[in-house]
Symmetry: C2
Subunit: 91 residues, 2 copies
């Protein structure tokens, strides 16, 4: 079975997010008053072959932790979806 894992890596709460801060300035300058907070992080899409969803989730979490996250400054979030046939054929 094929799965798509989406990994989101963001600065931990309380850690300075210079990209988010800079974006806020631009957003306000463009006149968007009702935007309160912006956080900028990474988004990683991974295609995984695994026998079941649990296995795919395990692999995705390992990748998120070992490769994509700096655990001192960043936190991550993983979500895994089964890939539909059509998407596989399309490749």
């Amino acid at each position: 079975m094929r799965f798509i894992a989406r990994i989101v890596v963001e600065p931990k709460d309380g850690v300075l997010d210079p990209q988010g801060k800079a974006s806020m300035k631009v957003v306000k300058r463009l006149g968007y008053e009702f935007v309160d907070d912006i956080r900028v992080g990474k988004h990683i899409t991974v295609e995984i072959q695994a026998t079941n969803k649990k296995m795919a989730e395990k692999i995705a979490s390992e990748l998120a932790y070992k490769i994509f996250t700096n655990p001192v400054l960043e936190k991550y979030e993983v979500s895994v979806f089964e890939m539909k046939k059509a998407e596989v054929i399309e490749k």
Copy 2:
């Protein structure tokens, strides 16, 4: 009402993704044979005050297009959720 918008910006299909390619090399070297593809993009979380979800979606899409995406090389995806009371109080 308060909303959370999640904006994902990724390289368009067919556009070279050097970060994804480099990550693939590392993943294979670490022995993850069943990982087939990695795409690396940006993930932006935006807090928006708006009268309804449609309005929040409009603002989020504008921000995605005007500020966070290079339309020549990148594509974006926006999803908007209403923020629950608890989350607002927590702030």
